[in-house]
């Protein structure tokens, strides 16, 4: 076909703007069918997306509910014996007797009154407050003895470091590194020194270790652990020294050992143990 005939035919076909008589289809019918098919499709999509949204909302609600019911603040109290707390994240807190603690699991805030050993394994920072001050710590191990009825707190760091927060200025915060301890006397002083008291964890380990330790320190430790009041008949005896390992923190056993070493005698009264002897001469 020559080009002009093609063009003529094309124009003829294009100019046709009505439907042939044989066609029953109309634009109105077509539109109705279009709506029915495609808006049905759209309704199905709306239904599908609504279902997905409903499932998501329900899921979020369930998780929120679960979270809401999850206890946010835990409170514990140990009376005479020790108590161990293992948190979900692996951090551990060991309570000595007569200790109360409150742990906010969301904020990682701890309030403690008594004595507790913290074994913190994660990088999440704990904010700890006690009757004698505030501290921050993460991924470290330390013992904190802070009883309301005592004039001072003792912080002993085994591993890592703990920051004693100043209530005046962050620049005055004090870092206590491992193998150091700090005696905290509120509004007066904080004394940081190398850790001398090797028995600061005796309440937890149940062991005592003395290495050329003067008796007055031994007696102080026994008083601290067992509330045992021990006096000596002659003041020179306080400075006598002993060495030894005990698989117990019982005052009786330690005193018995002292009596054997120095040939002392004990005179008991209701609230006091009086040790009689002459000097530091060992048998």
């Amino acid at each position: 076909m020559k080009l002009e005939q093609d063009i003529k035919l094309r124009d003829k076909v294009f100019e046709l703007d009505h439907l042939p008589k044989e066609i029953r289809w109309t634009a109105d019918k077509g539109w109705n069918e279009y709506k029915r098919k495609n808006y049905q499709k759209r309704s199905q999509m709306v239904l599908i997306w609504s279902s997905i949204a409903a499932i998501l909302i329900f899921g979020i609600f369930l998780v929120y509910n679960e979270y809401r019911n999850y206890p946010r603040i835990l409170q514990f109290r140990s009376e005479k014996g020790t108590r161990d707390i293992l948190l979900n994240d692996g951090n551990k807190i060991y309570l000595n007797g007569s200790t109360s603690i409150s742990i906010d699991l969301n904020e990682y805030k701890v309030e403690v009154n008594g004595e507790a050993y913290f074994d913190l394994l994660t990088q999440r920072e704990f904010k700890i407050s006690s009757p004698h001050g505030s501290y921050t710590a993460k991924k470290c191990s330390f013992n904190l003895r802070s009883r309301l009825e005592e004039e001072r707190a003792i912080l002993s760091v085994t591993d890592g470091e703990v920051i004693i927060k100043s209530d005046k200025d962050d620049n005055l915060d004090l870092i206590v590194e491992s193998n150091n301890d700090a005696n905290i006397i509120p509004r007066i002083a904080i004394v940081k020194a190398p850790l001398i008291d090797k028995n600061y964890l005796s309440w937890k380990t149940g062991k005592l270790h003395f290495e050329n330790t003067p008796l007055y320190m031994v007696f102080n430790k026994l008083k601290e652990l067992n509330e045992t009041n021990i006096e000596v008949s002659n003041s020179e005896m306080k400075y006598c020294r002993i060495s030894g390992d005990f698989n117990t923190i019982s005052s009786n056993e330690v005193i018995q050992k002292i009596l054997e070493i120095f040939n002392y005698k004990v005179v008991n009264s209701d609230s006091l143990i009086l040790i009689q002897g002459k000097g530091c001469e060992k048998i």
């Binding site: 003829k12 066609i23 539109w31």
Partner: protein
């Protein structure tokens, strides 16, 4: 006002869609009917074409109503071809025939548009498709070959056969009309 309606199409406004559907549907239906040869298939493919056009309206950039019509037409033609491909068919031909002489329609026959339309519609499907694409839509054989996944020579061959068939049908119809109305050349 139509420009506003085109803008509403971008917002997938139902009323705008209805307006343009009803405005363009007849012409587009004819395109489908010309390719597919039957009313049911044409109605189905027409709606598929409009659905695609309205869904992808953001691809239509400019040109007002004439531009929109041409753009929808391309989509509809494409839908027709996809329909035909899905339905069948590997088209074979003897490619040597592609080189034979071009036939011509009868120069002094002048039918109405509807008559030409129906004659084209009655062509066999394969010839009809190539004829529509080449003569009516204006595609080249190279483009047709790409669209139908055939060779250019096959496209030429189908067009030649379409013309020959169309010529026979025109002659036949012309003869019938002349005989009925006793018209002589």
């Amino acid at each position: 006002m139509e420009e506003v309606l085109i803008a509403n199409l971008y917002r997938h406004d139902l009323k705008a869609q209805e307006y343009f559907y009803k405005k363009l549907a007849n012409k587009m239906f004819m395109v489908c009917y010309r390719y597919l040869g039957n009313e049911l298939d044409a109605a189905e493919v027409l709606n598929d074409g409009f659905y695609k056009a309205f869904s992808q309206i953001h691809s239509f950039k400019s040109g007002g109503v004439p531009g929109l019509q041409a753009w929808i037409r391309k989509i509809v033609v494409n839908e027709c071809l996809q329909f035909l491909r899905r339905k069948k068919k590997i088209w074979y031909t003897n490619e040597l025939e592609a080189l034979s002489e071009q036939s011509t329609l009868l120069a002094d026959v002048d039918f109405e548009a509807e008559e030409y339309f129906m004659l084209i519609k009655e062509l066999p499907e394969t010839y009809r498709t190539v004829f529509n694409l080449f003569v009516i839509e204006g595609y080249s054989h190279k483009e047709i070959a790409e669209m139908l996944l055939i060779t250019e020579n096959t496209s030429r061959s189908f067009l030649l056969r379409a013309r020959e068939e169309l010529k026979r049908n025109i002659e036949k119809k012309d003869y019938e009309i002349r005989t009925r109305y006793k018209i002589t050349r």
